[in-house]
């Protein structure tokens, strides 16, 4: 168990803390003033908001897959539940009902259920935490990739329910579960206490700061959790389940807690994206979305908090900005008669392959994993069976 000890030691000195704290303050300050450099409706700002919302999901998925080692291929379920929460209680979808909770006069007059955004965030997080536990329960006895398929199956089942929602009316004829592939729209604009309601048609800056706030809260929670007792329990579970159990770690509780935290964050992000996108539609919740978020986590560096952040930012900008906005103009600028958009997802796939081959540990690997790899330990359990020569790592920086 000598190696176990060396892995568990955390070489973080007090001086390191101050440097990283200063860096963190600088980054946060920059992130706050960032939207002031752009037109309030700029497409780049819109993509940034999208990217930050995906950061929240990547952080949540990283808890499940990165920390606890439970491969989740159905993360889209939480996006769906979070977004549908806003569809249910932040829009005119249930036009028969007239429920208004802590909303301003603009929304007060509208039919339907309208609740304050902060309340909706809480409801979405709670619903998703419960869903996370429900999805987690059947996977408790499973290992490795069997967990992957069961979570995938849950994701698909939720999608089918979202699509067939109009047929499901448990609370009466006027209360269908969803609107299926037709959209629930519009969702109320975000309305925070003591502030004027935001309006994404006039300015995106408010939305940016709201999601930045959610990101900061989630980052704080995830960092605290990582360094807490439960965080160490997750990592012990990931490294060796049997050893972890024999050391007295309660497997059921620890696993379910990972699903719970991951699910709640997916719900927060979904509940933000509902009002931001202004629409909830079953087509948004395809399996490929789960893969998209998973790609962010792995590309960033599995288990690494900052990696998840970077992975989410990079992939969103590639998908929503680089390919549609920047590269689309390239053939035209070169005088070629050819639609770049025909190659959109091929290029996306090609970039995934290239980045992964160039940086197998991800862009910003977890420090613990980087140490393992440079010290020549084998990978995590169930890891590369042919781990004859450990790959060198070059980055080990992590706050």
């Amino acid at each position: 168990m000598a190696t176990f000890d060396s892995v568990m030691q955390r070489p973080v000195g007090p001086r390191g803390m101050t440097v990283s704290t200063i860096a963190a303050i600088a980054i946060v300050a920059f992130a706050i003033v960032f939207p002031l450099f752009f037109d309030p409706l700029s497409g780049f700002l819109g993509t940034s908001i999208q990217a930050l919302a995906y950061v929240v999901m990547a952080l949540g998925l990283n808890v499940v897959v990165g920390f606890a080692g439970l491969l989740d291929l159905g993360y889209v379920a939480f996006f769906a539940i979070g977004a549908y929460t806003t569809g249910w209680v932040m829009s005119g979808f249930y036009g028969e009902a007239n429920i208004h909770v802590f909303v301003t006069s603009t929304v007060e007059a509208l039919p339907g259920i309208h609740m304050n955004f902060l309340l909706v965030l809480v409801i979405a997080a709670l619903l998703c935490a419960v869903a996370g536990v429900v999805i987690g329960l059947p996977t408790l006895r499973l290992r490795g990739d069997y967990i992957a398929i069961v979570t995938l199956a849950f994701g698909e089942i939720i999608r089918v329910f979202a699509i067939n929602g109009p047929e499901i009316r448990p609370f009466g004829e006027n209360y269908p579960l969803t609107q299926g592939k037709q959209s629930i729209t519009p969702i109320d604009q975000i309305d925070l206490p003591f502030l004027e309601p935001l309006n994404s048609i006039l300015s995106l800056r408010g939305y940016y700061w709201v999601i930045l706030g959610i990101v900061l809260v989630c980052l704080f929670v995830v960092l605290r959790l990582r360094d807490s007792r439960i965080g160490r329990a997750w990592i012990a579970l990931r490294e060796d389940e049997v050893a972890a159990a024999s050391m007295g770690i309660p497997l059921v509780k620890t696993k379910l807690l990972a699903y719970l935290v991951g699910g709640a964050m997916g719900g927060l992000s979904g509940a933000f994206l509902g009002p931001f996108i202004q629409v909830v539609n079953a087509d948004q919740f395809a399996f490929s979305f789960s893969i998209f978020i998973l790609a962010m986590v792995i590309l960033g560096g599995l288990g690494s908090v900052w990696g998840a952040v970077i992975g989410a930012l990079v992939l969103t900008f590639v998908n929503n900005y680089l390919i549609p906005d920047v590269l689309n103009g390239v053939p035209g600028a070169l005088g070629l008669d050819f639609q770049f958009s025909d190659l959109g997802f091929g290029v996306f796939g090609f970039l995934l392959v290239i980045v992964m081959i160039l940086r197998p540990q991800g862009l910003f690997p977890e420090r613990r994993r980087a140490i393992e790899l440079t010290e020549g330990l084998d990978g995590p359990p169930g890891g590369p069976p042919m781990g004859a020569t450990p790959a060198p790592t070059t980055t080990r920086g992590e706050a």
Partner: protein
């Protein structure tokens, strides 16, 4: 730990203050941006927002071709006003189809670019639900070349509660479409079924706004038309096949079958499976499947034996029979060497042509958002590639004549006869 908490708290405070500032800043911007109606310009921009990637890319490439053709014919000008065109994509690589976020971003891009006076889009009715309120608040004229969902413009049966008011928060119309809404197409299809002697009709829809909406309209009006609809099933486009479904509707005694949806959602497979299960069944479809991609075996369409029993409805009549249609056909053939253009090409063409003619008519002093919108809404009795039409008070086209198409010897849809349909409540 404590210091971090303090940082977070102060961060939150700064963020809150900033949000407040932004809220004020936002309303200032509206004065100059959204209301940019008074100015006139010698150069304006027209945007289109269409899903250029994924399953529907072929149809959309044809539509963009049509738009470009209209602009090229005019030499990039509308009278003395020069017109720039920019094609935006509302789909993303990861999704492979239209994406709500991207649609919202496109609409906002139109709002923030002061030179934009008109917006062609969206292709999908679901996407228009997102862009309509945004463009409405900025007073930008939106012309959809493809939306048919009832609720976008009216509250006729088939619309959801709150439609269409929720798409026009300012209360003023900014949205027009040059394709008739589903209410009319539903009636046209039912009239066709009645005429062809169908009694029991099975309907399958692709569950999307267009397909499901049209199927719903047909269901509501079937009894009135004297047709029994045995079942209306939503089908998954990615199902392996529909043999079990076909066996089920055979058990229901269906003698006619309608697929309400678009080609990309498994139309060919479902027609073939239904045909195999019920020999001699008559097959029908709306404009979403009325294209050579479905009917021409050379382009991967239905086999000839089956195509003989297939008929579909489109809101255009025979192109060669009226001047505008003939002109379009000649020009398109010349420009792209394709004498059987995808039906969507003509809608793209007409959308752009309409905008250009309107700008030209208004002259440079009306080449702004308000002027173009006013001009477009006032369109009456316009001779076009689609026939003679105008917009009613909802922004709907006044065209109601539907063409019934059958499959010609060359495998492409061929105009058979005209069906008159009206929207009744």
């Amino acid at each position: 730990m404590n210091s971090r908490m303090r940082i977070l708290a102060s961060t939150a405070a700064v963020a809150t203050a900033a949000v407040g500032l932004a809220a004020c800043g936002g309303s200032d911007d509206e004065g100059s941006g959204g209301g940019g109606g008074g100015e006139s310009a010698s150069s304006v921009t027209v945007l289109s927002s269409l899903p250029l990637q994924g399953a529907s890319k072929d149809q959309l490439a044809a539509m963009v071709n049509g738009i470009k053709l209209a602009l090229d014919e005019n030499g990039g000008k509308a009278g003395s006003v020069s017109v720039k065109y920019q094609s935006l994509d509302d789909s993303t690589a990861q999704a492979g189809k239209w994406d709500p976020t991207q649609t919202g971003a496109n609409a906002r891009k139109a709002v923030s670019d002061k030179s934009v006076v008109a917006y062609i889009g969206e292709f999908n009715s679901g996407a228009s639900q997102i862009s309509m309120p945004v463009l409405n608040q900025a007073g930008i004229a939106q012309v959809s070349p493809a939306n048919t969902a009832v609720g976008l413009t009216t509250d006729e049966p088939g619309a959801e509660s709150g439609e269409p008011q929720k798409y026009a928060p300012t209360g003023k119309k900014t949205y027009m479409r040059i394709v008739p809404r589903d209410t009319i197409q539903g009636q046209a299809l039912l009239a066709t079924l009645k005429k062809e002697g169908c009694t029991k009709v099975a309907v399958a829809n692709d569950q999307e706004t267009y397909g499901a909406g049209l199927a719903k309209v047909m269901g509501l009006k079937a009894q009135e038309a004297g047709i029994t609809i045995t079942s209306n099933t939503g089908v998954q486009p990615d199902a392996a096949n529909f043999r079990a479904y076909a066996a089920k509707i055979k058990g229901e005694g269906a003698d006619c079958f309608v697929f309400s949806g678009v080609t990309a959602n498994g139309a060919a497979q479902i027609y073939k499976d239904v045909d195999a299960a019920i020999p001699g069944v008559k097959l029908y479809g709306p404009d979403g499947v009325c294209e050579s991609g479905l009917t021409n075996p050379g382009k991967g369409g239905l086999p000839k034996a089956l195509a003989e029993r297939f008929k579909c409805t489109v809101a255009t009549l025979e192109l060669k029979s009226y001047p505008g249609g003939n002109e379009f056909l000649t020009a398109y053939t010349k420009a792209y060497n394709d004498d059987a253009p995808d039906p969507y090409a003509i809608y793209g063409y007409e959308a752009m042509k309409l905008i250009l003619d309107t700008i030209e008519k208004g002259g440079p002093e009306k080449a702004n958002r308000a002027g173009v919108l006013e001009g477009l809404l006032a369109t009456k009795d316009r001779d076009s590639a689609l026939g003679k039409y105008g917009f009613d008070e909802n922004g709907d086209t006044t065209l109601t004549a539907y063409g019934l198409y059958e499959v010609g010897d060359d495998g492409n849809p061929k105009f058979a006869e005209q069906i008159e349909a009206t929207a009744t409540r």
